[in-house]
């Protein structure tokens, strides 16, 4: 049995200091403890043994590479427990009433999923694991015949930028545009994973989205490719906008 030489050991504490947050790169072998989720890269004869214990699972994978670094990055939160859908439905804790011909912004939360990659940061090819500590739930948006299965998240409403545990929840700034002549009541929003622009740093994970009210029943959501604060870096995109039909827009035709 080979003794594990732990070169890098890190224990997450939800502290102010962003530099301590374990996004990496981590030299291997490594052991990272994130609020009880233990990620390890143990040296083996022909590479490394990656293991994770926590977040409801215990997994092991052999990485056949002599050198390499371990990176962590938030990804579009639609992969766990199964990648059943490319949509995220956020259900508001209370309805939002928006006055006619106005644009209002609110802050919401969204679930966080963290991808573990080896080698280089970037494309999805080298992602070896994805985990989440936030509640996993799915729902149907629309009718039984034509509806869309969505990852479900119930969110509180915040009027100012909230401080949330970045290992569990991110912050979504949603700009609601109501160009119509009547008041609208908004209870939920549905976002497409394609084109989801997640930015993050040590203290927060953010999304910036727009919801344009079309009429009494329909709305369209899309993303703004800019961070909520300076110093945030873009996350790796697993659902890139490869096709013309997948430009990150979602037409909500079954109510909002």
């Amino acid at each position: 049995m080979i003794d594990i030489a732990v070169k890098e050991r890190w224990v997450y504490e939800p502290a102010e200091n962003a530099k301590l947050f374990p996004w990496g790169p981590h030299s291997c072998p490594a052991e990272i403890n994130l609020d009880g989720i233990v990620l390890m890269m143990e040296e083996r004869e022909k590479g490394f043994l990656y293991s994770r214990k926590g977040a409801g699972e215990a997994i092991e994978k052999l990485v056949l590479s002599k050198k390499g670094k371990l990176y962590l990055s938030p990804v579009e939160p639609v992969n766990k427990p199964l990648a059943l859908s490319s949509h995220l439905l956020i259900d508001f804790a209370a309805p939002i009433l928006v006055e006619p011909n106005s644009t209002r912004s609110v802050f919401l939360s969204f679930p966080v999923e963290i991808a573990v990659s080896v080698g280089r940061r970037g494309s999805g090819e080298n992602v070896i694991d994805i985990f989440t500590t936030s509640k996993m739930k799915h729902t149907l948006y629309g009718t039984v015949k034509d509806g869309v299965i969505c990852k479900y998240w119930a969110s509180e409403l915040f009027s100012v930028l909230p401080r949330l545990n970045p290992l569990e929840t991110g912050v979504l700034q949603l700009e609601i545009q109501n160009p119509n002549s009547g008041w609208v009541e908004v209870n939920k929003t549905v976002l497409s994973a394609y084109g989801m622009k997640i930015y993050y740093n040590g203290n927060m994970i953010t999304l910036n989205a727009v919801m344009k009210i079309i009429n009494d029943n329909d709305a369209e959501t899309s993303f703004i490719d800019s961070p909520l604060q300076p110093g945030l870096v873009p996350a790796a995109e697993r659902y890139s906008t490869r096709l013309l039909t997948q430009q990150g827009k979602m037409l909500m035709e079954d109510g909002y």
């Binding site: 729902t139 149907l140 948006y141 509806g147 299965i149």
Partner: protein
Amino acid sequence: MIEWLNNIVYGSVTWLNLLIALIIFLASLMLAKILSVQLRRSLKERMSRENLDLLTKLVSYGLIIVAILWIMPTIGIEPSGLMVAGGIVALAVGFASQSIIGNLISGLFLMGERPVKIGDLIDISGQMGVVEDIHIISTTIRTLEGNFIRIPNETVFTSSITNYTSNPVRRFEYSVGISYADDAEKAIKIIKEIIDQHPLALVNPKPQVYVETLGDNSVDIMIRIWSPAKEWFAVKMELLRVFKDELEESGIEIPFPQRVVWFGGNQQQEVEG
């Protein structure tokens, strides 16, 4: 030059007749090629490659045969002579291939109507399985036991089909009986909490948990849950075990069928006097 074209080659056929026949034949070849390319482009995502090959060949060869029949009188061959012999042959072939033609036409209608897709879980005439392939003559399904079944398209087309995965979600249900001595409200609360914790038990359409019947041996709680159509069976299998374990752990009894026999106690009364 034009006069030369009017020279007789054989019988009453001139060089001009031969030239016209050649032009029509070449034009039909070109048209067949264009049609097959267009068919491939428009149907490549709706049909398997094998079926598409067969269809394009049928169309292009059919067109060429029509062109040949058209140019036959031009080159001095009377097709009417062939008609009698051809008619008899066609009649014989028609009778022999009646079912094949029926299946072929049904296959074309199935490809147009698309009541089933490859990968769907279906039930056709009592045969349940996953659609493996839809050919032009037959449809193949893999039963849940792993057997291979080939069903003629005519049977598929004329049978009633239950498609379990055509909608994105489906519902399943359980009836769980608890003892009359136990608190039904508590049992319902536990069941709702379990459903809430399962990631694939959908939030909407809402699950239903309620006391359905007051049975002979138990209070029967009906549980109705919606789940993604492709995952419903795994969810159904998993949840029933969890319900049993959690209810028993909470002291709620899932009773056996039982009957209380009452002996009408103390019937022997003392007679005074």
